[in-house]
Point group: D2
Chain length 337, copies 4
Amino acid sequence: MIFLKNDYGLGAHPRILKALEDANSSYFPGYGLDPVCEEAASLLRGRVECEEADVHFLTGGTQTNLTALSAFLRPHHAVLAARTAHIYTHETGSIEACGHKVIPLPSEDGKLTPLQIEEAVLSHTDEHMVKPRLVYLSNTTELGSVYSRDELEAVRAVCEKYSLYLYLDGARLGCALIADGQNLTLADLSHLTDAFSIGGTKNGALFGEALVITNDRLKEDFRFHMKQKGAMLAKGWLLGLQFRELFKDDLYFELARHANEMARLLSGALMGGGYEFLLPPASNQLFVRLPNMLIEHLRPSVAFEPWDAPGDRASVIRLVTSWGTTEEDIMEFMKLL
Amino acid sequence: MIFLKNDYGLGAHPRILKALEDANSSYFPGYGLDPVCEEAASLLRGRVECEEADVHFLTGGTQTNLTALSAFLRPHHAVLAARTAHIYTHETGSIEACGHKVIPLPSEDGKLTPLQIEEAVLSHTDEHMVKPRLVYLSNTTELGSVYSRDELEAVRAVCEKYSLYLYLDGARLGCALIADGQNLTLADLSHLTDAFSIGGTKNGALFGEALVITNDRLKEDFRFHMKQKGAMLAKGWLLGLQFRELFKDDLYFELARHANEMARLLSGALMGGGYEFLLPPASNQLFVRLPNMLIEHLRPSVAFEPWDAPGDRASVIRLVTSWGTTEEDIMEFMKLL
Amino acid sequence: MIFLKNDYGLGAHPRILKALEDANSSYFPGYGLDPVCEEAASLLRGRVECEEADVHFLTGGTQTNLTALSAFLRPHHAVLAARTAHIYTHETGSIEACGHKVIPLPSEDGKLTPLQIEEAVLSHTDEHMVKPRLVYLSNTTELGSVYSRDELEAVRAVCEKYSLYLYLDGARLGCALIADGQNLTLADLSHLTDAFSIGGTKNGALFGEALVITNDRLKEDFRFHMKQKGAMLAKGWLLGLQFRELFKDDLYFELARHANEMARLLSGALMGGGYEFLLPPASNQLFVRLPNMLIEHLRPSVAFEPWDAPGDRASVIRLVTSWGTTEEDIMEFMKLL
Amino acid sequence: MIFLKNDYGLGAHPRILKALEDANSSYFPGYGLDPVCEEAASLLRGRVECEEADVHFLTGGTQTNLTALSAFLRPHHAVLAARTAHIYTHETGSIEACGHKVIPLPSEDGKLTPLQIEEAVLSHTDEHMVKPRLVYLSNTTELGSVYSRDELEAVRAVCEKYSLYLYLDGARLGCALIADGQNLTLADLSHLTDAFSIGGTKNGALFGEALVITNDRLKEDFRFHMKQKGAMLAKGWLLGLQFRELFKDDLYFELARHANEMARLLSGALMGGGYEFLLPPASNQLFVRLPNMLIEHLRPSVAFEPWDAPGDRASVIRLVTSWGTTEEDIMEFMKLL
């Protein structure tokens, strides 16, 4: 079976498992207050080039988003997000469950533009409406698209104009930063956002997301919120350990690069076959329209996700590569094509 | 000044004030557990033709909506509502503040159709998404349109098909039931909805909404929720008194009929002038497009609300009549036209 | 029937009803943004001697407490309150429903001491515990006791030492400030607390509480919170009107003085009869232990509340006077004794 | 360093790490819908002798408690718990953050009695108070004490009498069931409680708690709540894998037995030394009063927790054993004594 269903189907990169074995028989202080977490945080502060950043480690993406946003906002504050945003569509209303409205803005490619952020702010005029206070972006987006540095700077500018926090969900940040033709860096993010996450789950770790908070106003008492939301792992060193391994050299980006390369091979083959993409391939998620007969032909040998409702003759499917995808996987897929 | 800005600008109908004076020097049990509230509830149970209905009195519309919906739903449940719904646009995220996502459905006329409810339900397929559990309608809608009995029965049918509660916000229920060509009754509502409110604030009372709960599953412990949300008035008899006065004869509907008649006069005059309406006039709220010069001409003498952003030459304004609008008001307005 | 059951059994003082009649046929802007509310707020700013204070009018006590506290606190913040505090015992967990723990501190007389506040703060040492951030006092307390200026200054000092907000629930503030031997003033409160309420419901109004916010950090966007919690009355002028009437001269304090005097007559008679009080009488609530036989003798002619579980021979009952209690009521009660 | 500070300082039992290595290179379905989780759930259903039980796997204890309790309760429902209960003292108000009051009941030994549960229920008489709806027990308790089957049956009886759910936090359930002289079994728990957790974090796993729901009314849509609270791990098979390993034979109980035996050796030595315990040693947590000089003597070589404020001459410390504690650790500790 060629697994192209998602990027969290596989365990951890062998180096991470090895690190875990090495550490397993030592005693550590609990709840993330251990030397391994401190070392990992320090590495990340260096990488994002912000020595004052607060770095926290949480177990998953939904948890990271809800803990951060509920800590950052007052009860009447709302979040602006693309209609396709993960927090709007696939986190079971977790932000609303914390009391905050998420205002969906239309988006064809999963990205937000400064103009629509501005319009949304200006349409909220008084106390009978919620007050937009935070912009949520994901990078890569849920549709595989990627923000350029210019785009992000423009979003930042409108956020500053209207006193909006900018939060970036980096569940797939590796694949975004390493994407073809991109020049956005971790260091840029620490200047352009108020807080952002760096996803481990989909990029080589067993589980875990790092949350980087650079805005001083958002740092205070964050560990209280983690504990209150059930987001503080007793053996927190498990998280620090994985991020230390991913960032002590370039492993994190190597894995992302590999995922993107496998996607490029795949999209090349599909383009060669004349198939049409929902959006131009940019990272490790591909959304391609295939004839239904071809989809049926692939089904026994390839794990993938259908996307939207099936069409009469052709349907869109999602193909996702990861650090674990092999060239053999792609070759075999090409043969099936 | 001709007041056509809204239907809550004036105090109470004189009969209500008279009832208040008569009762003011008596002692009553607190928190709505008094004979006046019981009498009013009993009158309403008769009017809605449901002796088993629970009737509660609350002070305002937002309060009624949030207390009811948060009492009826579990944390993962979501509400389906028109994008124009009051709870979605003008209650400062009060439903989300209670933890529930409100899913906005497109609507040109403020109403929901069975088809779009069905589509919304079917697009929520698993536990990564919220679970639609309640449909919120308003009647009249925020755009002044009105549900027919047929339309409401069709909505009810889809609610039953998908185990959705049907809740109707009746802040302007009088004007809806009395609207031209309508045959919907209070008794219909007690069968077609699981709970609905009967608005007093905009129909002759100083303040107050009656909430009628007919679905047994939603009745339990409702007074706990009222108290917890700050929605239980110490001198609850003030609310019962007003509803007793409104419903001991036909005062409630007389006042609504008057408001609608004044709107009919007004819309007749505007149509006569060739002005275009955003929606066909149906109740006491009119949305009409007028030349900007005319709007400026009216401004010193008429209180009204602008609607949406102003246009280059013409703009939409909202004109609202109420039980307190006089024929003289309309005549004077006509002269200005 | 001699009504000594509570202080919200009666309607409004005649002057308030008169003011209501006078205003009833005028149109007012909605939601408290009207000249009457502004005038009332201005009067109150003068009375509390703080021109920068924000003054809001809400309909009830629970509503005022929950709207204020949820607006003031972040999710991990907790409230320190006496175990007898209204928010802890009789508001159906409304503060917890907004997400905040209320930490009950033992109290015999309904008051908190600086020492126990300090101990509570010091026992909350890290992020596994909530963070105490606000002290809730009521004055008069739920047991009828009253804070002296010295006591309040001492509480204030410990609040400043530990960065705690001080909030005072003044549902019965009139009776507290007017109590025998007290020298606390409204102006003191605006300096000693961060926010406090002035209760109308129990002191001459039909309903209504004024919330005075003096700490700048707590003022921002408060009207958003009011709307979100269903605490913004459409005809907000009804509230302003009542407070304007109560404070345009000394009506508010006259009514409180009368209630306290009636209580003094009553407690004098009871002391004369040798009956024992749970706490020394200080305001308009009396908690007295009476022989069960006497209680049965009173029951047909006097409305009162039992307090705690009945004893074998004697039981404690609560007797409450109000602005509406007459000397005749007291005389008749004495005869029954 | 002899580590007696807590029971979550060490990684996983080697067999668990081995299982992880074996599974690491396979692809699994996400979010706990994989064959490993199903196998683990099935094993547990057998062990608790309830084939209809729902079994879910979550990452930590606070997360499990808050997800379960918020899913089980309506907004006005409160939780009864010992004042020493983890949810009351050390989970940063997570239950209140979900909207529910936790009512603390006095307890010397960490346990609740049926009588105090009954008294608490009876003291909540109307809608001005929260409604107790769920009893929270922990076993072992936070003080190391253990419920007997008789005690638990008595609590169950009072819960049934007053329609209270019974929830048992089994963060240290292994040590409780295996404790000397106990005859309580997993199967008993599935009959005596409505839901209970089985802790992995403190008993051999890297992390993870299994939640067993036996009451049908509490099962519906539980996975929605998990997702909404950020408690659904993307690679959920990591949790199933650990519980499968712990329960495919008796590993879970062997590890608990070892922890208890180490505690027995330790308490024997301390008793031999004439030292006094706060409570009779019953499981793997010991609370012993030692002379301050002895404490200082131990400090450089032993990791432990101080308990409460230090005394003048002697102070209480907490000593905790785990599956990883060795006889050599205990021997060395004895020497230090």
